[in-house]
Symmetry: C2
Subunit: 461 residues, 2 copies
Amino acid sequence: MAETGSERDAADEDPMGLDPRRVEPILEAVEARDTARLTALLEPLHPADIADLLEQIGPSERRALLSLWSGEIDGEILSEIDDSIREEVIGNLSPEVLAEAVRELETDDLVDILEDVEAPQQAIILAALDDADRVAVEAAMGYPEHSAGRLMQREVVLAPLHWTVGEAIDHLRSAAGLPEQFYHVILVDPRMKPQAYVTLGRILSSPRDALLRDITEDSFRTVEATDPEADVAYIFNQYHLISCPVVDAGGRLVGVITIDDAMNVLDEEHEEDILRLAGVGDDSSLSDGPLATARQRLPWLVVNLFTASLSALVITQFEGTITALVVLAALMPIVASTGGIAGTQSLAVAVRSLATRSLTSANARRVVLRELGAGMLNGLALAAILGGGAMLILGDPWLGLVLGLAMICNQIVAALGGVLVPLTMNRLGLDPALASGTFVTTLTDVMGFLAFLGFATLLLL
Amino acid sequence: MAETGSERDAADEDPMGLDPRRVEPILEAVEARDTARLTALLEPLHPADIADLLEQIGPSERRALLSLWSGEIDGEILSEIDDSIREEVIGNLSPEVLAEAVRELETDDLVDILEDVEAPQQAIILAALDDADRVAVEAAMGYPEHSAGRLMQREVVLAPLHWTVGEAIDHLRSAAGLPEQFYHVILVDPRMKPQAYVTLGRILSSPRDALLRDITEDSFRTVEATDPEADVAYIFNQYHLISCPVVDAGGRLVGVITIDDAMNVLDEEHEEDILRLAGVGDDSSLSDGPLATARQRLPWLVVNLFTASLSALVITQFEGTITALVVLAALMPIVASTGGIAGTQSLAVAVRSLATRSLTSANARRVVLRELGAGMLNGLALAAILGGGAMLILGDPWLGLVLGLAMICNQIVAALGGVLVPLTMNRLGLDPALASGTFVTTLTDVMGFLAFLGFATLLLL
């Protein structure tokens, strides 16, 4: 992380990103209301690390820090900061500071911020922009949420199809307002429809009289502004794109999406998958307080309360069996719980495969049969261990048989449920990660108790 | 996804990536052993989509397809294909085809392939390379697995600090063997230590006599070749890098990592997190057969069999209580199961936050206290619902009280366990996603049964 040998030693102790040991001195400066010291401590930090700092400290510390230091806040910090506290942070800024901070941002970052704030702050931000930026931002806000149109930047670098490398370089040298980051020159026809693109590397390494259209890239493809951002992220990942032109319904160039935006979308989708699978609202954040956290998690807990009552209802039907043989009450959770683990395993693989589009209608049948096979094999293996163990320890071969049979049934149900529930939700157009976890564990709980107590009633009484 | 209006309509029906409807005709061509038709069907597909196709079809179909078509396979397909079947696919290729296919690949992709194959195939691949590539690949293989050195490409574009834009362009025009993708010119001192970099966009838009060192980027940073790839992926994501020079222990430039490689690493880490949390081995793949799938999942199932026996042991201690009041057997899974959901919620948030480095020693205490608070609040809410419901339905206020008290205890244990288990594993240098799920559900099961049956024994008998 450093350039010279001696600097390197110091850097080695410094973890990448925000060093947790830097946080304490910063909070001390805030408490001492020492703006000079605070500024000196924050000044060397990258905006992304300052955003992390603001996320990691408590709400009252955050307010105190911003009141001492808000004049220095720049647009990049606002752009980096997590959605969950962005509105709070922006609310702490004076209109002048806010207007100053957003002025330097690119349109895609502005759109990202505007999506999250209330109308009065939106008005302040829009008023701070120059006319061209405001028109561009308002146009982007006209596209649906989570669409390519919201993700793209309007600043594009383009050239007519007939230009040479020399003409392109001369144009770039004289052009004003080039985007901060660009990786391709997009070739458009006279109706502004993108036809191909050329990497800057190819332009730089080709002779001045080479035609741009002779050095284009195979990877060229476009997305439509109304395409969902998830599809955009997928094609960046699948085809290793670095930038991708965006067109309107008529095929005309309206913007360009770069890889950093696509990477953000992928990251958010991963977060959504992992949190939804676990039954956590995906607008949850580490900066939320206990009340907000409790509120986000309560809905699925309540759902689970009712689905778990289904298990209770099943068990109630077998009260006679349990009264006759109370050891069954102790053993029944083993079958249910191991089924829950198997269901979760099968589910995680299916949800992940659907997210990466490697589980499709082309191989769904094979994958379901594979899960069935795996469920049977593991059911047999676990039945042998558990049934055998029960026979040895409890000295009752019939009880061992009941445990083994119930285990086989439940492992098969778990493996199938783990893949069929998300496949069904996907076919219904729902996010397969949503609710699947609760459905599948309810299934394995109910089936586990039913199979175990049912076989026990048949074979032991 | 297309350029003109009429093409657009057709493309709209075509999902992004490999269209599942294309798979059937391809498999028919394979079955008919019709190489011409097969080639015509595969020819328009992107290598990444052909790799997906090979992953989605069954092993015997894959073998048949490769025997008909293997002459056409190119290096990019081998590079795109999932690790789990790469060795099988390569094993189906003749040495000549394999040698031909790998020759065009960049060194980072070659290293990725070599890591996965056995010694004889390694020898074939190494023998196929020209001397410079072989030396570069062998040097990369000398770095530790999962390090920056394995990830980087050796082909770099550099310039001395004193060059002008014009000199850089002239050099690039005459240089042979430029990397396929590059985004920066790296400025090095006379000892080959990188000092800064310049984007190609800045070079193209600056006058010929501008000095490169006057148009460098703030985002410049380097990584050491022995740094873990996870750290590299983190800084790409955190600081929005597009490429990053790699240095040796002496600070000298040895290669460069580009964003597509970093994106791959992030993707693999997400996969690892989601699969490990669910207790699935992270070398699992959708192309595995039932036996391989069962084998990957069995270890955690067996572990769970033993941890679930702990719950059984707890319940056994209360056999007298259950015999006296058999309805307890039916109600006890509700408390345990709702605790399991709460533990999973808290766990998913903690694991994800540790992975994105937003949960650190700076805010661990605040997050643990927050979980404690959220657990208490949800415990109270669920206790009111469940306890109240039990009083109404079962008509027994004391039973309602027992359910409510047990629920509060278990929600608190779940919320704390969900964050403390991964924090502890992280502090011990272990992957927090590994095994945490089983630990936490064991904790909530044992605590759920213990609290419920314990309070029942105290208050109901």
